[in-house]
Symmetry: C2
Subunit: 344 residues, 2 copies
């Protein structure tokens, strides 16, 4: 395998640090790894795999002689630097929403649509964290039985909103007394007019609101899922909620299959063999996925599979995954592995 | 109004103490209030409305000369003492699941079916907390437009599992480091084989499992909702999840109406006038219900009302209420008020 020069933009962030860890852990064929961030973070040191990396400021010239560039520093930075990186010959794996819904840009979860990683793609978009675990878990069902409908309610961790949101949860968690007076500055989104405590609370707003009444996070899940499954007729609707969990998104999912007569056992059997999926579904042993135990793991965990009592082709599932791993860093690195392998 | 002698069984519990508070706060027409609990709690003192009450041990004779008895000490205690109370002439408002699904026993949310409080009812069942807020919010929609389907995912507070669960969350919440080693002894249920931390976690198990794969909590919501709405054809399905919230249950709810062409604005207008319901639905002002701000309030808060993008008679709502107030104590006292008023 040809070795490549790699850059990580947003290297000091919650996802950026995980991308570096994944590259080391998976022996990614890198000649060099360059860590890029804002001017403010330049000079700081990050350790991974026994090696010290020094963070540099992101400039257009940072991408000279880079073959693979990971972007995870927010939409504004991606809009500013992704084309600079591409012009200098890099293939970009972008973890923001900046390019996801552009028709010509592949939106990829390797377990689902690695065939979209065509040779001349210069920008590949990494989907939203809550979308990735949903499509990874549902892909085997969609392939075998067809999927006509998804209704999902999320229980999303604060790390999806970055390191500052983790600190906010940490600071608030000690304040058990006078909970409604807890100070909040970050969530639901740092740009919001109002901030609400996340500790001992559930905030039904992630990202900002669209005029339809849905949040952008909900629309991302709805639109990205259709794009990844390449199915415009699929009905997808989401309610996205932030909960006081550090890492690990959970999803309560209702699906309708195109095939009648499928059993819970059929679904369990299928998911047991599915790539990237771990079945945790044994009520008698209280075995079901939970975010606290998914943290740090690569897999998408599925359990609580139940037949709908009235709709014979309807099923309910509980899907949990580490939003920083498969939901972000791991999926980005998997995409890069496909690209590098394709270039062999 | 004729004044009555009142007893509260389970008076030292999370709900029992709230029932006492509600009786005082609402000037319930009581001649006397007797607080009953286990032998262990006998002799302890509880203050409400400037008066000190001394807790007594529950015995069959405790109910002599009692006209209204509230039970909130678990199903076993209700099974043991409810009939003793009734034999001695009391009307029982039972807040356990012991009698809820018995055909001859009214299961009442006053905003929905106070007509079930017929004169000769000796036991009235108070529904499950997560059911009460659901039916209170949906009743106006059902009356005006008809309801054919409810799919609900809950975000339930630990106080629904009693005071010990609140203490467990409190103890765990300081332990931000090494979260997966947090000690757990109460949740998901004290009788469970396995206990899991609730802090920084979401546990998709409330109560024990039924052979169908649904938990008893989920089946309660499904069966009780049909009974309260007196509609066997209604499709109701629930996924019940415990989250690290002290008090206040949240519900992500998908409904299908029997009427087509209804708008979000129609629903908002209807809920604005609905008894026991407060509409909090203004995305541009980030106004939506949250459990932290519902704590201690009497109302059922509804927001995030959205039209389903594909089903013209489908809507999504976010419903929040204090599980100890409308979800338990308030609803019980409202039932008792109807009974006492009916006896005038």
């Amino acid at each position: 395998m040809e070795k490549v020069n790699v850059a990580i933009v947003g290297a000091t962030g919650a996802v950026g640090t995980k991308i570096l860890e994944k590259l080391v852990e998976r022996n990614f064929p890198s000649k060099s790894i360059k860590l890029l961030a804002s001017k403010r973070s330049a000079g700081s040191k990050i350790e991974a795999g026994g090696q010290i990396y020094i963070v540099e400021e992101t400039t257009p010239e940072s991408f000279d002689n880079i073959q693979i560039a990971f972007f995870s520093a927010g939409g504004t930075i991606s809009e500013r630097f992704v084309h600079e990186a591409v012009e200098r010959g890099a293939v970009v794996v972008d973890n923001t929403s900046a390019f996801r819904m552009i028709d010509s840009i592949p939106l990829v979860v390797p377990e689902v649509n690695s065939h979209m990683l065509i040779d001349d793609a210069k920008i590949i978009a990494n989907p939203n964290c809550s979308t990735i675990q949903l499509v990874t878990a549902l892909q085997p069902l969609r392939q075998k039985y067809g999927l006509k409908r998804i209704v999902v309610s999320t229980y999303q961790a604060v790390s999806g909103a970055g390191s500052a949101a983790i600190n906010e949860l940490r600071q608030q968690s000690g304040q058990f007394e006078n909970r409604s007076a807890i100070k909040a500055e970050i969530l639901p989104t740092s740009s919001a007019q109002q901030h609400y405590p996340i500790s001992f609370n559930a905030i039904p707003q992630i990202d900002t609101f669209h005029s339809s009444g849905y949040t952008l996070e909900e629309l991302k899940m709805m639109n990205e899922t259709k794009k990844i499954f390449a199915d415009d007729r699929l009905s997808v609707v989401a309610t996205c909620v932030r909960v006081p969990v550090v890492t690990g998104h959970s999803e309560s999912v209702y699906i309708e299959l195109e095939t009648d007569g499928v059993t819970v056992n059929d679904i369990q059997t299928l998911l047991m063999q599915a790539p990237g999926v771990v079945l945790q579904d044994n009520p008698s042993k209280q075995l079901y996925p939970m975010p606290l135990f998914a943290e740090g793991k690569n897999d998408v965990f599925v359990g609580r599979i139940r037949k709908d009592p009235e709709v014979s082709y309807g099923f309910h599932l509980w899907i949990v995954s580490d939003n920083l791993q498969k939901g972000a860093a791991l999926n980005s690195v998997q995409i890069a592995e496909h690209i590098v392998n394709g270039k062999q």
